[in-house]
């Protein structure tokens, strides 16, 4: 079975695509306002994560485990996350600007990276919290399943892929190479 998110994402993406940008801003403002009334650090982390990841419906159980893993990896993160939660912003870019001004930019990106990759930390200190539930897979769940899962039976892949839904890559996306040749690349 594909993870449950990949099954439900298609209609959700379609719905999101139809929502005017102004309404999304309103929704995010509501989220941030809601943060005033939350009491537990877990709830606060969940709201922070919703804002930073761009996914309003992230898994609360995963939030608990990701937060625990983030706090385990290094002690300084704990404080940084607590301070992040205290910041008020109506959207992710404002939050990031405020976070960077407060020296919390890296901590905020660590939270984002944890949600998107499912892994907290790196190398020997890495802790894997999620595989199929990592948010990176939800960005393309209408056309690609997380590897090891499938979107259908034999030869499902001959059907046309879904619409792109994003603008094509532009030259200004250029950045230095990131691909390592160190790993083993059998074929």
């Amino acid at each position: 079975m594909p993870n449950k998110d990949s099954v439900t994402l298609l209609p959700r993406r379609a719905v999101l695509a139809m929502v005017p940008a102004a309404a999304l801003c309103f929704w995010f403002r509501e989220t941030a306002l809601a943060a005033d009334s939350v009491t537990t650090p877990t709830d606060a982390f969940l709201l922070l994560s919703k804002l930073l990841t761009g996914f309003p419906d992230i898994n609360p159980e995963l939030a608990i485990r990701l937060r625990e893993a983030l706090l385990n990896v290094e002690s300084t993160t704990s404080q940084a996350i607590a301070r992040l939660i205290g910041l008020h912003a109506s959207d992710d870019s404002t939050l990031m600007m405020t976070a960077r001004d407060a020296g919390l930019g890296e901590a905020a990106l660590a939270v984002v990276g944890a949600w998107y990759t499912g892994t907290v930390g790196s190398d020997a200190h890495a802790e894997v919290v999620a595989y199929a539930d990592a948010l990176m897979y939800r960005t393309v769940a209408d056309g690609l399943a997380p590897p090891t899962y499938a979107l259908g039976g034999p030869a499902w892949w001959v059907s046309a892929p879904p619409p792109a839904g994003v603008s094509p890559p532009m030259a200004e996306h250029a950045q230095p190479g990131t691909q390592s040749t160190r790993g083993v690349k059998p074929s």
Partner: protein, 549 residues
């Protein structure tokens, strides 16, 4: 016929096979089917597919995006295999291009086809005559037409799906159709072929060991896009299927049994091999015929460490060629973002390949190439790149989606020539847990490969322009492809080769060394189908020898 087991753990069989990968397993299955008693000794453990799948899902993101295809496979503490995350240093690499020889292979029942992509290419007829036709490398003592019937049998045994339209075949010389027609292409394969084929790059379907219908005991491929490092449903051929078939026919498999010595008689016939069990107890397996099919690193390692009074430089090594002529397809990658969304990652890991430069008169001067359109989902690299840009929220979501659906990764293979200095030797200082010497490898590539790289890079720049490529990059350091070949090289002359055209050792009439080791030329295509075909040719030779014994 059953293997005889003795109270002290020793055994006796008509045929003793060392190594349970695709080559050893195919031979064992044939001989067990011919009513011979067959013992397979495998250094590594038995694996449980579901556990390996879970191990993969539980590797961290860095390992998965870095293609760590080794760590998910449990190893026996007494039979180390290479690890790179972090490096375990099992194989010491030296020489100018040692760093391009980080081979990943599995020591377990079923061998390295647990994590291959199941590409089942044949060599071209001309690949058997590199010296005669192009004046470089070595010629085989057998021709394509000698091996062709065995290619057919190997394709049947592995349930290969390939193009039955000759216009899409490479090579076209075939006596039988593929067991299954080509794996149907996804949008990405089709679109890339449409764009590059008018320019002569010749994108064709990759013949592959899976089918979109059930095949023998395997389910139909459901495009789980995880062929490497583990097919979660067993639709992809791996040698465990053949091991199980051999066992059903009566073969005995002993896992975690590390062969370390080879006994010979006055006529230099092999009389027994000796192995350590998981409790480090030594046992002896006597037999009439012996096959060593461990892979092109572990086989020469065993032959060298098994040197005895009669064979002081190693078993089968009077020519001094054991361990030499090591080859692997020198690899590099080209990545870019195409202006069209190609949606790579739908279906199996590799389905199309550009073979326009597989052959040509240029091969007298520089390496041929093949360019695989990798079809492994780009979501991991896309996420890595997007996160590095410090994005959040919907901008991050969109950037990952953009990079995933427009992202292209081409995997290019070059052909090295066999060279005696590219060599495996035994370490004098490093030993495994049993105290057996670890392998040292010296590896240097000459200008034949480097000129081939330059020619391929020029083609890639043109291909990039056809896709209006953004962030076009070609890696400059070469990577390994796990296609080890050459180290027990095949030839007519016992003075400069290790085995004959049946993979039988020149020095020992009842010892065969089939697999990648005997291959005198690498071509640019994945070596497994040729190894399997050589294994089946070897099996016929073993069968004839036992009948005449």
């Amino acid at each position: 016929m059953s293997v005889r087991r003795f109270n002290n753990g020793d055994a006796d069989a008509d045929l003793v096979v060392v190594g349970s990968g695709v080559v050893g397993a195919l031979i064992a299955e044939q001989m067990a089917g011919a009513q011979r008693s067959v013992l397979i000794l495998e250094a590594g453990p038995r694996l449980d597919r579901a556990q390996v799948v879970e191990n993969w899902r539980n590797l961290n993101f860095q390992q998965r995006v870095g293609s760590d295809f080794q760590s998910l496979y449990p190893q026996s503490p007494l039979a180390t295999a290479p690890l790179e995350f972090p490096p375990n240093g099992y194989v010491l690499l030296t020489g100018k291009n040692g760093d391009s020889f980080h081979q990943g292979y599995i020591r377990a029942v079923g061998g390295t086809t647990w994590h291959w992509a199941a590409s089942c290419w044949r060599h071209l007829p001309v690949d058997f005559q590199m010296r005669a036709k192009y004046g470089v490398g070595r010629d085989w003592p057998i021709s394509y037409s000698d091996l062709e019937p065995y290619y057919c049998r190997a394709e049947e045994a592995m349930g290969v799906s390939g193009p039955n339209d000759p216009a899409l075949q490479s090579p076209t010389e075939r006596s039988r159709p593929y067991p299954n027609d080509m794996i149907p292409w996804a949008h990405g394969d089709t679109r890339v072929a449409e764009i590059v084929n008018p320019h002569g790059y010749r994108s064709v379907p990759i013949p592959q060991g899976r089918a979109v219908r059930p095949w023998k005991r395997r389910p139909a491929c459901c495009g789980n896009n995880n062929c490497q490092p583990i097919c979660p449903i067993g639709a992809m051929y791996n040698a465990i299927h053949t091991v199980q078939a051999a066992e059903a026919k009566g073969a005995t498999v002993l896992a975690e049994s590390v062969v370390y010595a080879i006994d010979t008689d006055a006529n230099n016939r092999v009389t027994a091999v000796r192995w350590y069990d998981r409790n480090r107890q030594s046992h002896r397996a006597t037999g009439r015929a012996f096959v060593i099919a461990c892979n092109a690193l572990e086989t020469p390692r065993l032959l060298l460490m098994a040197a005895n009074a009669q064979n002081p430089s190693g078993i089968a090594n009077r020519s001094d060629q054991v361990g030499r002529n090591l080859m692997d397809h020198s690899g590099f990658h080209c990545t870019f973002l195409a202006s069209d969304p190609l949606w790579l990652g739908r279906g199996p890991a590799q389905s199309s390949c550009l073979v326009g430069s597989r052959d040509g008169s240029f091969r007298s001067e520089y390496s041929a190439n093949k360019i695989i359109l990798n079809n492994i989902s780009r979501v991991g690299p896309a996420t890595q790149q997007a996160l590095k840009r410090g994005l959040t929220g919907t901008a991050l979501r969109d950037e990952i989606r953009r990079r995933t659906i427009h992202g292209v990764d081409l995997s290019i293979s070059l052909e090295p020539l066999p060279a005696p200095q590219n060599r495996l030797t035994l370490s004098k200082t490093r030993h495994d847990a049993l105290g057996l010497p670890c392998p040292d490898v010296n590896y240097e590539l000459d200008d034949y490969v480097h000129r081939g790289y330059d020619a391929a890079a020029q083609q890639l720049r043109h291909i990039g322009s056809l896709f209006n490529a953004v962030e076009f990059e070609v890696t400059t350091s070469l990577n390994a492809n796990n296609h080890m070949m050459g180290s027990t090289v095949m030839g007519f002359d016992p003075k400069d080769s290790v085995v004959d055209g049946d993979c039988r050792a020149h020095d020992h009439p009842n010892l065969w060394l089939p697999g990648g080791g005997p291959m005198p030329s690498a071509s640019v295509v994945n070596s497994t189908l040729t190894m399997a075909a050589l294994g089946l040719k070897c099996a016929d030779s073993v069968q004839r020898a036992l009948e005449h014994a």
